[in-house]
Amino acid sequence: MVRRFTRNRAAVFGLAIVALFVVIAIVAPLISPFDPIKTNWGLVRKAPSAAHWFGTDELGRDVLSRVLYGARASLYAGVVSVVIAFAIGVPIGIISGFAGGVLDVVVMRVVDAFLAIPFLILAIALAAFLGPSLTNAMIAIGVSTAPVFARLARGQTLIIKVEEYIEAARSMGVRPSTILTKYIFANALPPLLVQSTLAIATAIIAEAALAFLGLGQQPPDASWGSMLNSARSSLGLAPWMAIYPGIAIFLTVLGFNLLGDGLHDALDPKA
């Protein structure tokens, strides 16, 4: 499986991008040329130069440093919201699929209903309810993504639960809770991990979208979405304020998508 993955050049490329941004996020304080929140009234909206490679923003802050630090907020938001979605969705899906019957029907109707409401509208409404902050944006995205995981986990459970080894375990008197965790969850994990990788990509864009609407990371800290938000009003004056954070979002999301696709192909050679 590992070989199948490494043979996929696109997937390796994706992994490299993701790794690069993870490293950037970790060492941001070491490699940033300036303090990302240090304002400089004399250097407002200066075009890219030798001192400021990506230019400066509306308060004279260094855009490059803000993009580097922004990697922290965006990656953090992507990963944590998917962890939340996973933690809510997967247990619901597995239990519902395993129990079957009325419980399954009811739970799946509710999940369907959640899935029917456009993701972004749900996330915007939730983020507005919780109040604007990075944490709340992550919760909103996580909750809105959870139904996808519930669906997938249930589907996997339905396939796995009719396998012979589950029957065998049952007849041997293994406790249902053990069957759920040891057999079903363990076997459903690979496709769930693929889904998680792709969901991180979506979550990073969603966080940027919420921040763009003012519902994410709060000033003065940088996130790519909030940088785009403040760039919007001076688009003609200082396009670099919008260009670089946008490229950063694009590359990171592309990395996760390539990685997810590669994992998917490696796990499921038929596709």
Partner: protein
């Protein structure tokens, strides 16, 4: 067939009801007292009490829900607190706008996604496949609000070819309408084109390994005839089904696109409504988009069923 339809409809009804409950509850969670928004910053406590009484904010939630759902059943979505306009007619004016945008985006995604998907399938595993795949993934990975900003910067601010924002109906001025819808449709269609490309590719790959395609090839038919006639015609079904399903996502994607290009559709309506605490407008749009999604899935099921003889015979 009819039995299948009835069965699907029976499943859709409770889903719709649950959506309505979720939508209603969601609104109760929104911060900001609507009475304060209606009354404004200068409202006195007596004025606020009067507003709460008039709009029924003091009733138990279950009563408020009942009032709301019965009015909605009668086509009454309520009145905007802020502008005193009725929400029903407002929606009626906005739906065609969003539909226009969605159709234009769908068109763009089809003319890009399907040929690219077919090519990627033909060249499977070769250099071009990777190029197409990475291009498609790039399409999914570009945040569409950023793409919108960049396009405005380039085509409206710098080159001045296209209007920066706004919407003109095609019934009024087709040329101006085309110009106004081009950028938003590209922005919204890009991500979808990527999705279409991936679905087309995998549908084509499945079909191309089937016996009848091999037979056609063995008969010595020309390759492009084999691909277009035998493979693509058969791969159509999953592609159409997926396109139908994507239509729901399109409506949701319109939210940010409409915001950036100031297009007066339902996406912009819902964002503005969230920020203005227009409970009833948010409820109406969310309910509507949920219902649209359910109906589209129903349609996709029917299409799939109808176009798939094997499935048909099994169920009947």
């Amino acid at each position: 067939m009819i039995g299948f339809l009835i069965q699907r409809l029976l499943v859709a009804i409770p889903t719709l009801l649950i959506i309505s409950v979720i939508v209603f509850c969601l609104q109760q969670l929104l911060p900001g007292d609507p009475a304060l928004v209606i009354g404004g910053g200068e409202a006195t406590p007596a004025m606020l009490a009067e507003i709460r009484e008039r709009y029924g904010f003091n009733d138990p939630l279950i009563v408020q829900y009942w009032h709301w759902i019965t009015s909605v059943m009668h086509g009454d979505f309520g009145v905007s607190y802020r502008t005193r306009e009725e929400i029903g007619p407002m929606l009626a004016a906005k739906i065609p706008v969003t539909l226009h945008l969605a159709l234009a985006a769908m068109f763009i995604s089809l003319i890009i996604g399907i040929p690219a998907g077919i090519l990627a399938a033909i060249w499977r595993g070769r250099g071009w496949d990777h190029v197409v795949t990475i291009t498609a993934l790039s399409g999914i990975s570009i945040p569409n609000f950023w793409l919108g900003i960049m396009m405005i910067l380039l085509f409206a601010v710098n080159l001045g070819w296209l209007p920066a924002s706004g919407y003109v109906s095609p019934f009024v001025d087709p040329w101006a309408s085309l110009k106004s819808i081009t950028m938003p449709a590209i922005v919204l269609g890009t991500a979808l084109a990527a999705a279409m490309m991936r679905h087309t590719r995998s549908a084509m790959l499945t079909v191309m390994s089937q016996d009848y395609v091999r037979t056609a090839r063995a008969k010595g038919q020309r390759e492009w005839i084999v691909i277009l006639k035998h493979a693509f015609l058969n791969a159509q079904v999953p592609i159409i089904t997926l396109a139908t399903l994507q239509f729901g996502t399109l409506l949701a994607g319109a939210v940010l696109t409409e915001q950036i290009f100031s297009i007066p559709g339902i996406g912009k309506m819902v964002v503005d409504a969230v920020f203005n605490r227009e409970y009833q407008a948010v409820q109406a749009v969310t309910l509507l988009s949920g219902a649209a999604f359910v109906l589209m899935s129903l349609l996709a099921d029917v299409l799939y069923f109808w176009a798939n003889p094997k499935l048909r015979s099994k169920t009947l």
